[in-house]
């Protein structure tokens, strides 16, 4: 077991971490908003935690709080990401569809260039030697794991709550939802902020886990990776981001023996999955189940 954790502990935690980031995209998408801003908030959260853990200014805080500086960092990252999301979200969410996606891409790129040039974020080199919360890498499962459970419970409850139903109503038809007395702007901003806070907290947890933090953490490529997790997992089910996140982020590791060709295969998987699994993996499982129950008469029917 020890050997297994030593070899695969880092990967295991990474899978959980990537799934969490998939959820940060899933919540806005639940309200029909294609936001690619997650890597921006993820990078921001990481910088906040990294600065709190390394900067001279915070030294007395660290002495006073001990390991308590880490949860404080998560909290700070969550709050600051939330406020920034509110500021960006209120004007940006007037935009629909691809326009919103483009605005969030611009947001991520602007944030990246700023982080690349500020002294406090360590410029192009970034911040390194971030103190560790645990001695071994796999132990970080004790921070990411509970967060994932929390998010799963949250998604489960959200699905069955007034807010969740409002999100889905907006996704299906914003005008109709508006006519039914749902305030679309309020719920869209709410969905955007939930995603941003989650991405910020995951960033803050990842900074000690990854030990260094730099501007490469928040890029356009990452936006697309998270989007692929959600769409290929299944964007209409709360299990989709988890499945997609785990399977797609494990893929490069599984393909590691192929060396240089692995990213090529990764790209092919994206193409084939979007063609042959339009409803995502969860959707495909659902239609297989429908097929077996309705055509073959095996098992219990869904509805």
């Amino acid at each position: 077991m020890d050997q297994f954790l030593q070899n695969y502990g880092f990967l295991l935690v990474t899978l959980v971490q990537q799934s969490l980031l998939a959820y940060s995209l899933y919540f806005p998408l639940m309200a029909g908003q294609l936001s690619l801003a997650s890597p921006g908030f993820y990078a921001l959260g990481g910088y906040i935690a990294a600065i709190m853990a390394t900067a001279e200014y915070f030294a007395p805080w660290r002495d006073a709080l001990g390991w308590g500086i880490f949860p404080l960092g998560w909290l700070a990252a969550g709050i600051i990401s939330g406020i920034l999301a509110l500021l960006v979200g209120i004007p940006a969410l007037r935009l629909r569809g691809i326009y919103l996606a483009l605005a969030t891409i611009a947001f991520v790129e602007i944030l990246r260039v700023i982080c690349l040039n500020l002294a406090i974020t360590g410029g192009a080199i970034g911040i390194f030697g971030i103190p560790q919360l645990f001695e071994s890498r796999w132990s970080y499962i004790w921070t990411f794991g509970p967060l994932l459970l929390l998010i799963l419970c949250f998604s489960y409850r959200l699905d069955r709550s007034r807010v969740g139903r409002a999100f889905k109503a907006i996704r299906e038809d914003e005008l109709a939802a508006d006519a039914m007395g749902i305030n679309p702007t309020r719920y869209k901003v709410l969905a955007f902020v939930i995603g941003a806070v989650l991405a910020g907290v995951v960033g803050a947890m990842s900074a000690p886990f990854l030990n260094t933090w730099n501007a490469r953490q928040g890029t356009f490529d990452a936006s697309i990776a998270y989007l692929a997790y959600v769409l290929i997992g299944g964007s209409r089910s709360m299990w989709g981001p988890l499945l997609g996140g785990i399977m797609l982020s494990a893929l490069p590791e599984i393909l590691r023996p192929l060396k240089d060709a692995r990213l090529i295969i990764n790209g092919l998987v994206l193409v084939f999955a979007s063609i042959y699994l339009p409803q995502g993996i969860v959707g495909a499982v659902g239609s297989i189940r429908n097929f077996t129950t309705q055509t073959l008469g095996i098992g219990r029917s869904e509805k």
Binding site: L95, I110, L116, A228, A261, I264, S274, I275
Partner: protein
Amino acid sequence: MDAVQFLQNFLNGISIGSVYAIFALGYTLVFSILGIINFAHGAIFTLGAYLTYSLAVGQFGIGGLLADLQLPFQFSFTISLFIGAILSGMAGVLVERCAFRPLRTRGADPLLALVSSLGVALVTVNLLQYLVGSEIYSFPSDVYGDIRPAFLLHIGEKLVVVRTVQIIIFAVSMVVLALLGYLIGWTRIGKALRAVAENASTASLLGINVDRFILYTFFLSGFLGGMAGSLVGTSFGIAGPYFGVSYGLKGLAVIVMGGLGSIPGAVLGGMVIGLAEAFVPSEYSAYKEAVAFAFLFAVLLIRPQGLLGSSQIQKV
């Protein structure tokens, strides 16, 4: 800033802006027909640059599978640029067949086209890295034949430097723009393309083979993308297989600026962003990369339909 400095920045700006314009037109053409952004466009840009390089220089660097390969032929720069762009156009057609058509025939969620086109981009870029390695390639200085590398304009005591590459880039872009304008505005093919962009199902009822014109569009788009990549590559060098990614994103800023789907808008947007970047003071040059995105963000908030786009009224 004095007048001479202004002139220098202005010339730099319209030169790079003209490339942004033809690159962004590749996005615009596809968007106007399919209403989808082709995220493989940045990869085609990169591919075009490498194709032109290989045709003009005939050999590759130290890394990758093709490291010691020497092509048995070598073309002049003009011919290489043209063939490189044609091949990029064919790659554009391939992108359509692999990433867009299968989704269209299945009536899938347009969001998936985003993922599939990025999948194709990922394959292209990594295949390039596999084949030619990741080091920087620069075109040899004598690639244009025997002409001087720069022209100096003396204005009083001051000097304005115009690199020959800048003139070539501007001239080629203008010729391409003029030809494209003619093709779309004054030929039967252009008329059919405009009809498909206006309404694909009506166009098909009128006997236009929509799928074929979508292929033409992707060919034109790839041609423009590959041409832009080659021009940028000759001017600044090819900084590895990923160098198209940042231009790909900047191209998005250009098309939003001018108005999604608007052809004059893409040209205007390219010029505006090229000039804006050129006028960034040197002490803030580190922030130059953010200029296009700041514009993109601002335009979306103030005038989402872009400078030349018309606002869309949503009908219920």
